[in-house]
Subunit: 119 residues, 2 copies
Amino acid sequence: MRIGELARRTNVSERSLRYYEKQGMLSAERTPGGHREYPEAAVDRVIRIQELFAAGLCSEKIVQLLPCMRDTDGGPSVRATPDLVADLTAERARIDRMIADLVRSRDTLDEVIEAARLS
Amino acid sequence: MRIGELARRTNVSERSLRYYEKQGMLSAERTPGGHREYPEAAVDRVIRIQELFAAGLCSEKIVQLLPCMRDTDGGPSVRATPDLVADLTAERARIDRMIADLVRSRDTLDEVIEAARLS
DNA sequence: CTTGAATCTGACATGAGTGTCAGGTTCTAG
DNA sequence: CTAGAACCTGACACTCATGTCAGATTCAAG
């Protein structure tokens, strides 16, 4: 598929898709004229990238991580190096803390919403 | 307490504390010479602010939200307006989605870490 | 062909919290 | 009184994914 359709289906701007490619997170075939041509699997990959961004990982980490992920088609995957594993373990801990923070913030909002409802 | 101690105890830079004040999220008495003097409760408030930032709320929302929160000392709180409640409900939904994303990302990391461990 | 939609590259702007530096003032221990 | 630590204001820089614009090229349908 082309970039417009991928953007529509993933809800990610064309600008960002090109950026992902430049960062090495996403690749695409090219038509003879130079237009990008994405495989179906790109949809899942872009969604994963967005999730990882939301989790606070930077492009660089994502670039390292992506080839170690099980592909959607269950294809073979690269083994993470010990250094990367250490990095990812730290990121995991950070994500855990982030989730805990979010839950507390959600509780805070609930409290305020509930207090207003009882009026 | 003074800004240095508050910064140390909350792990938030002095720069950020002054920024919070300018945005109207945090207030302080002043010594005759102009130095900020914070009450003990400021510690909890700053931590709350950080959590809400982490949850993706902007300063403006936090400013509206803070007076509606139950104070640490159980003091009286302002009732949220219907408009604010609508806002906060939307934010709550966003936080829910964010948590779901984070859990998925954490699972992704776990998968990669586990795959590397089995080597 | 032609024409309009889609895509291309490259460059500059934005946001929002935070870092940092400069130059000056206040506080406090000795 | 004094030295040095702590604090003040204001301004500018940064991050980094994303928005946006310009000007050119390609694609696909008529």
